[in-house]
Subunit: 289 residues, 3 copies
Amino acid sequence: MTDPARPLATPVPIVSLTTDFGERDEYVGVMKGVILTGAPGTQIVDLCHRIAPQSVPQAAFLIAAAFGHFPPGTLHLVVVDPGVGGTRRILYAEAAGHRFICPDNGLLGRIDQQAGLNRVRQVTNDRLFKPTVGHTFHGRDIMAPVAAFLAGGGAPDRLGDEISTEAIVRLRGWQPRRREDGRIAGRIVAVDRFGNLITNIDAHLLGPGLQTTPHQVFDIDIGRRLTTHLHTAYEEALPGKPLAIIGSRETLEIAVNQGSAQAHYRVAAGDSVIVQPTPAAAAGAIDRG
Amino acid sequence: MTDPARPLATPVPIVSLTTDFGERDEYVGVMKGVILTGAPGTQIVDLCHRIAPQSVPQAAFLIAAAFGHFPPGTLHLVVVDPGVGGTRRILYAEAAGHRFICPDNGLLGRIDQQAGLNRVRQVTNDRLFKPTVGHTFHGRDIMAPVAAFLAGGGAPDRLGDEISTEAIVRLRGWQPRRREDGRIAGRIVAVDRFGNLITNIDAHLLGPGLQTTPHQVFDIDIGRRLTTHLHTAYEEALPGKPLAIIGSRETLEIAVNQGSAQAHYRVAAGDSVIVQPTPAAAAGAIDRG
Amino acid sequence: MTDPARPLATPVPIVSLTTDFGERDEYVGVMKGVILTGAPGTQIVDLCHRIAPQSVPQAAFLIAAAFGHFPPGTLHLVVVDPGVGGTRRILYAEAAGHRFICPDNGLLGRIDQQAGLNRVRQVTNDRLFKPTVGHTFHGRDIMAPVAAFLAGGGAPDRLGDEISTEAIVRLRGWQPRRREDGRIAGRIVAVDRFGNLITNIDAHLLGPGLQTTPHQVFDIDIGRRLTTHLHTAYEEALPGKPLAIIGSRETLEIAVNQGSAQAHYRVAAGDSVIVQPTPAAAAGAIDRG
């Protein structure tokens, strides 16, 4: 996909930031200072800083859904790092023309499934780090200066040795799948500001030609059951009523029109979602939520 | 105001963003990725993402008060869009040398009253949109790519046909006015972090030469009554006492010195505010709150 | 440190922003508009907007800990301004190759102790301000336009007269110190998102060669007592157990591994912290929290 002799880059270097630091403290701002110190003129974009603290599954899902909306060559820095100060590795990787820096804790798994990782490297060259590296903030002391090195045109082979894609850490239990009994099993990976339940069940898992089969009905089990077809807009449901929709991340989403699905179902990120496709006739094409 | 042969622009293109997306999710970050994909080097400024969910009146007030603090030529993208996925139009407009992209739901009304809209267009050219447009996130799929097109120097006449300013949607019941009985009627449009009650009652509605008539007293009815002159600094009131002031948006603001007017009056955005100018002598020039 | 004939600058001008405005309102966004109006192309970085309302001590600590992570020449604008509209001065100062604009209320004290202020000026040249200056928002009307003037290459001597470093306002009661009885007295200056208690007790105050004396034990009094050595990573304590660590700001920090020290100790910013170094033998090298 890329010329091996040249590192990926955008005309103005762009770094996206995804962390669980929130906005309360100066942690994100300080990382930006470090990046700009090493690579003046870099354009830094806050992708999300409200990953639930230390939630690798949520961050892995979010970055996989979001990175493709940025220009090719963008460097995505993902700092959700429950193992900071321990022995976990730090990774560099490329996928679909984009670049990633993050701890080796499962953050890149979904990107690998979607787009295929390549040129994965373990970041070990401490001459690129801050002169003093503490034990509590590797986002600032290691990952931000490495991001600056790359944003400034540095070559990835300076970071450390290439490693096999097989060697990186994978999350267990978070991959959505179609089971042998025909049901599709996944999880809620995030609840958004509006109370929508974002699942990791990709649209294509629900069946081929889904969007053009409006009468397909699904039994969705998220603690309580919702029997419904897939809607195409929130407003298709009555106010206060739940609905299923393929959301903006191309996965199954449970919403309540003009309300909060989280309040309706009292579920949380991490909870299981089981979907059973049902013939429309059997279900009477009636929505029951 | 502008050369009709040339689109408005700043030396480095600037796009301001105003939404009701909050900071919890990646929605804003993804929109920035889309803008930078279409228009590398654009400078994107977060104006506000905490518009109350789907509150068109609050956003309409805020953008009208804020846009003039940006450089002429700035493109202001306002995504408060309760009708997403439905049939509402998307608009492009110019006013006072600034440019605006937003849904047609009343967001531009106050700007029109203040500065006069011109060159209003309905955005219909779907070749400028994302290749696939979903039903849930037109900020990302339509408005961000259109903003990028303009930020990159694209001509507004490519967006769609010009329409009459008369044809755009207007909010009803939100325009402050001086009534026949001499009272001025408006509303609380926002409550800020400090609990200050921001009204949409422009300073000039309270009377001519206001700032130089310190003894003019007002009866202000916001559920409870506050009788006071206009202060020029919060500190002029005793700690814990309410006061009226012309705030930084050039409208009437009710505050409590070192306290929260929202907690004091237990009111909310949308609530009515009625102001009656009173001769200073009659009121004894005494503040009662 | 700097050539007196040339103002400090970065290749692309950078302005960092630290305020107590939060993210709820458009105050920060409007300040950015003003800066970009005066100095197009300036790179503006949000350092922190969640300073506790009007907490000068927290902001003074934060900016002193953070500024060095930015490129030399960065202009740091700190708007925590309880005296807005009153008679407090506005200052320009330089320290360690960085530049600062803020109200004269103690914000620069800790920087002066750490790095030494120089070229302090009182900002009085109102031709650099907004044409109309209100009484409620000097961040927008005075400090942002002055920042733009400097970011655009303007000379500091245009701002106003140089004043003595001795003449600036200092906070009282917030300087950490080693008392005559050998105890070190300081305060909690911030509680971060994770519930960590950030103190202003610099690592060097705890004793020389601290990091290489792992058996040094401390009695830490923060309402309840914690007797412990200094940890080097959060994970060294058992889950749910408190620990002391030199945090990322190079000061003493009290944390709970996988928990919240704030919830554990029920303390708040401003509370006192007293540390007594204890021979390891006497304490039995046992952690008690």
